[in-house]
Amino acid sequence: MRKVTITHAASFALMLGLAGCSAPGGGSIYVPMGGGDQSKAPEPPRTSEPETSEPQVWRKSEQPQASEPAPAPEQPTRSPSYRESGDELPAAAVALIRDADQRLQQGDSAGAISRLERAQRVAPRSAEVYFKLAEAYVAGNNLGAAEQFTLKGLSLAGNDSRMQRSGWLLLADIRRARGNVAGASQAEDRARAL
């Protein structure tokens, strides 16, 4: 009974993953060797420290107001990076996940996991690969690992609310199956709130 619900939630997750995952916010920036953009020389290290010489002196003499835009904006070429969602699945990973699904249907969870780990190496920052791994571990009756992979997937779901929702539902099912009722309903609340 429990397993059935879990598989439902998980295949729901997969459906979402494979159907359309036009995640907003773009993926990570790929940088070929040497940076690809060779025309631009690397910028010398910048510093926003007040004690570093000239700009500071100049500013002091000008008595800048609080509202004046800073001459050297903090953001331009280099700034700490973040994004709002994980990567999309490339075709290669989708093919491996399909293969893994077939293995799961044949009851071969170890075979499925080995294919999903290949998919994970192809798309290590995509939430659905981890949700699928969680599903395979559920099938292999390793609920502890399944829960961890769901959490890992959730950490990459970002602001993709469909992905978030299927992740939280999957987590709720797994937690309930592990006897963690409070954790399960907490996860359900998260899913409902989306």
Binding site: G36, D37, P42, E74, G111, S114, F149
Partner: protein, 769 residues
Amino acid sequence: MSKTTKSRKKPSKRQPKNQRSGLWRLLFRFALLGLVVLAGWMVYLDAVVTSRFEGRRFEVPSRVYARPLELYDGASVSASGLARELELAGYRSGNGVKPGTYRRNGGRFVISARGFLFPDGEEPRRRISLVVSGDKVRSFSVVAGPKSPIVRLEPAQIGGIYPAHREDRVLVQLEDVPELLPNTLMAVEDREFYSHFGLAPLSIARAMLANIKAGRVVQGGSTLTQQLVKNFFLTREQTLVRKGNEALMAILLELHYEKDDILETYLNEVYLGQAGVRSIHGFGLASQFYFGERLKDLAPHQMALLVGMVKGPSYYNPRRHPKRATARRNLVLNEMTEAGLLSEQEASDAKAKPLGVSGKPSFTDNRYPAYIDLVRRHLARDYQEEDLQSEGLRIFTTLDPAVQHASETSVSKTLPKLPGSDALEAALVVTAKDTGEVLALVGGKDPSFAGFNRAVDAKRPMGSLIKPFVYLAALEQADRYTLITPVKDQAFTLEFDDGKLWQPKNFDKQERGEVPLHRALSKSYNLPAVRVGLDVGIPQVQEKLRAFGITSPISDYPSMLLGSVNLAPVDVAQLYQGLATSGFNTPLRTIREVTDADNEPLSRYNLKVDQVADPAAVHLVQYAMQETMQEGTGRSAYYTLPDQLTLAGKTGTTDDGRDAWFAGFSGDLLAVAWVGRDDNGPTSLTGASGALPIWSTMMAQIPQHGFSPVMPDGVQYQWVDTEANALTGEGCQNARLIPFVAGSEPDTHTGCNGDLGGQIRSWFEGLFR
């Protein structure tokens, strides 16, 4: 008494008659003794033969493979990297149609993969076509063979675990050997193999006749069985006794075993070459060693060469003496026609072919000693050494030859440029950020030297590499600490119970009064780190370290807050794995799986993840570690690396520059570099000037994704004036976009709303929030 005298007398009476019979008896006794000795000797030889024969069947070294290169649309690989990878896996530049060859035209590759039996199934032979542009695979397609959007090349063999006698072989079974090979072997070496009893007197006579005619040894009369027995002896001296023993043992062997058993053992036993200290035995390995092909895929002219080489593997070595080898091969091809194995036409076609030997042996042994060392330690947890040496296991590791190559060159190029380089040593560990797979390992300045493996065994104080964990412990208390919390950068003295004093100092001996927390980390100031650490509590920091993977005891002294915790570079890599993956501990692995010789899986080492920290707090630490690279102690990385490659990292320097550390990550890779002296002496280096150059030189050689963590639940980015400690607008003075655990952002506002563009942007962003 009387009896004795009697008996003494008696023989003297019958002397003449007794003399004769005594002689007979003596002869009889001698004969009996001889028979007993011979029988004993036979029993002994029999034991030798059977034990050797049985023993030989099982001593097969284990093979260690690199990770297979996966090719698909979007795969990260450079054209030069792909070419190197192909060479390493024994591919030859050619027409791209023959299996094991590839054709390259600029960025366009056509590769004919040989196929490989992976633990999870057979990767069939395929011909694939692809273009490498912008260090990415594009236009990937399967031209011949089963279609698939992703194809694995055969993994390069990177080492072996050998028995003490260093014999290497790939076992083959008779039913898997193409019939032409044993038939050729018999045609050349032993035509009556299936009918003789171990010896072939007629052949011996024929050989003697031929030798007498020629006046020198031109022909041998040894049967395959005798040749096999000959291999059981370790010495090569030729004596009559030895010949006799061989003959006896050959007969014994034939008595005990079937012809097919003997033939199969011969095929696996015969000596066919040498690679350094490693000897090449059997046709299975010889086929890979000379042609880079599986035995079942050999063409007749290749089989002819291998069979020809049986007579003298070094004399007919096709790499060193191609002319001799060709002549010998053609002689064998003639024999094959004579024996009816080939038609005249086939033989002359085969003779017209070049030797077709691969450029160099498919791998040089022990190319990556430090990496293999770590693999062996991991194997030792689950396997006995003697099993590894004799059971022919297949070990699939996670070594990435491209990353390993980049790591070795960056150490060997960078280290000599550092001041005092003669006494310096280095270590470098590279892992895949999200899988924990160890991709490369360098254990010293000479990467090919199998000595002290510093990457694993040099336990050194981690210095400032500990600071992210100190601040993580603080930032997990979002109500007390945010990235802009001002922390005191002022000297102080701690007095211990025993009256001893401790007075930590900044690296530059300066004090700055108050600095925001993010800058205290990115500039690696010591005083704020100690103050924050003491405030959240040493046990809390220890707990973080343990959760992220430190298993050794951690000091209770406050000096631990400045890194008086001894770790090897691989330990640091393990520790930083959790920081790089938003709080998920991912155990480092060097092995994906181990199978037995028949591809039956023995162990799989699966990917594991374990959430050990609040992802929101880790995200804040990642922010400060990115700032380290852009504005802080790690910024010199961008002298070498392109701006677009966003990175996060941390420098570490211990007292008097005894240890220079750098640990950091991109979107794909995590690497830890260490530089110092084996005698733990002082250097003039810091983490930034000693270890970071090695780290960045390595990173610059690998195409990869920038680090850009997904914003976790419960984190919000806000523009803040870090000096005024208040919210502000984009473009205002001291404005920085900084992540906060929701609710912990400042509640005051500078009143500056920034430029118009920023306002419009934030208005739009508000719409979609």
